[in-house]
């Protein structure tokens, strides 16, 4: 079950995660991920037939807020942390170059 990661695997998953690696880094991460996955080898010992997956620690019913207007944060305050903005809008580079 354990996966031996290759450099190409790192590039493959890194592409989904939008992280770039050099060849050398990819080799290092392949080793680290293989080590980490070796850890999950222990799962093979566990019989989980008829076991329900646990997605949340408490059995709670999701609660929705009433649909009423509330105070919102000030736009200028929020834009203070934005790198580039103009006329109250966030500036990003061109999508089509």
């Amino acid at each position: 079950m354990t996966h031996q990661f290759t450099k190409d695997d790192v590039f493959y998953y890194a592409n989904f995660a939008r992280i770039a690696f050099s060849d050398e880094e990819a080799e290092q991460y392949a080793e680290m991920l293989s080590e980490l996955d070796k850890f999950a080898e222990r799962f093979e010992e566990v019989d989980t037939t008829h076991v329900e997956p646990m997605t949340h620690p408490l059995h709670q019913i999701n609660v929705l807020r009433e649909d009423v207007p509330t105070e919102i944060l000030d736009r200028d305050d929020m834009l203070a942390s934005v790198k580039e903005h103009e006329d109250g809008m966030i500036k990003v580079p061109n999508i089509l170059s």
Partner: protein, 489 residues
Amino acid sequence: MTLFSKTATELQQLLHNREVSVKEITEDAFSRIADVEGDVQAFLTVTEQEAKAQADQLDNVPLEQRGPLFGLPIGIKDNIITNGTKTTCGSKMLEDFVPVYDATVVERVKEAGMVTLGKLNMDEFAMGSTTEHSAFQVTRNPWNLDCVPGGSSGGSAAAVASGEALFSLGTDTGGSVRQPAAFCGVVGMKPTYGRVSRYGLVAFASSLDQIGPLTRNVEDNAMLLSAIAGNDHHDFSSASKEVPDYRKALTGDIKGLKVAVPKEFLGQGVDEAVKASVREALKVLESLGAVIEEVDLPHAKYGAPTYYVIACGEASSNLARFDGIRYGYRPEGVKNLEELYFRSRSEGFGPEVKKRILYGTYALSANQYEEVYVKAQKVRSLISKDFADLFQKYDVIVGPTSATTAYKLGETVFDPLTLYANDILTVPVNLAGVPAISVPCGVSEGLPIGLQIIGDHFEEGLLYKVAHAFEQATDFKAGTPLVGEGQNR
């Protein structure tokens, strides 16, 4: 004046008798920070001006309007957002991020009249066990400056142990409040999942993260949890249960208490000195009337792999929001959107975070989802059931908080599996969502050892009762700061 060795109750009495002002306590805290911060490096941001202005205002509040935490200093872990004060998460990604509102816990400590001293160092995005994974500085253990303070709330634990702050807030995703508390000789509580609002906490693994208090004794800890706990309409996973005054639980009476000690908690890999201290602690509990029995927690050994799959999966999803667009790190000279995403994340995140994002992306991928991620969720069910079964028969579960005392700086950086193995004692608690507290129970070669007490959901009061009874019967309370002038012992 030196106030750093006093408890909250003692300071409160001085305030009440007008023998000391909030301003004096605040100045004393910053004077202690000035003395020892060069060695400890617990703070990423110190908000001295704001704190002193806050103290001036608080001194005008009439005595009858003051609660038990009024005027007392607190430090906040840097993944809990603070209005107008930089919140970095220990990451270059958020190096310049200044939030525009307070996390609910910050609102609540302010409502209680506490003075916030600043933001505390941590492993980047709370990923790590040593606080060496911060992008900015390495925090040192006040008991031995060559050692780590633990992680990821290492700054929070070190600030309290060194007397820089009387209280601090940390976060615990896999043991990140309890393990640093054990390493630094202070009290750290990981409350039940949902007991404390996570609104305003920068999410790492949402189904595991929980904010918890660190203090130098159990009573102070109980007071702080009473102040921050409770339902919050901003966080729908917060529990709508009434919050007791936890101080009322500190009766010292634990006669007849049924204590389970899992064999797995005192097994291979646990340091002999740690085992000896925990066994001594069990004798103390027994002498106080508790009934101790050895039990099995059969799936605890799968805690660490389960944690890594689930935590990395949730982290890869939560950290997808850091894309360089709205806020956070943005590289210079990018040509298009694709390059912006890649360069922001590649240059903004550190190696540990990248590794976990990658592993999480793998675990959640279509090929691996059933075999890795869902399997981990099923094992999580079994771990949770182990706890539920034990709590049918026992009041608390007791064992060490950490398998070893604090490591030397840099010692385990290249051996991640050693760090992961240490997580076996703490991560099952997060997977099950139950509460657990770490209290000092000994010292080995000058470094503290922590005793972990685990309870059923929402039984924090019982944990405080046991921890307090133990603390009163022993001499390990209040971490002894070994740095700076004015040592208290």
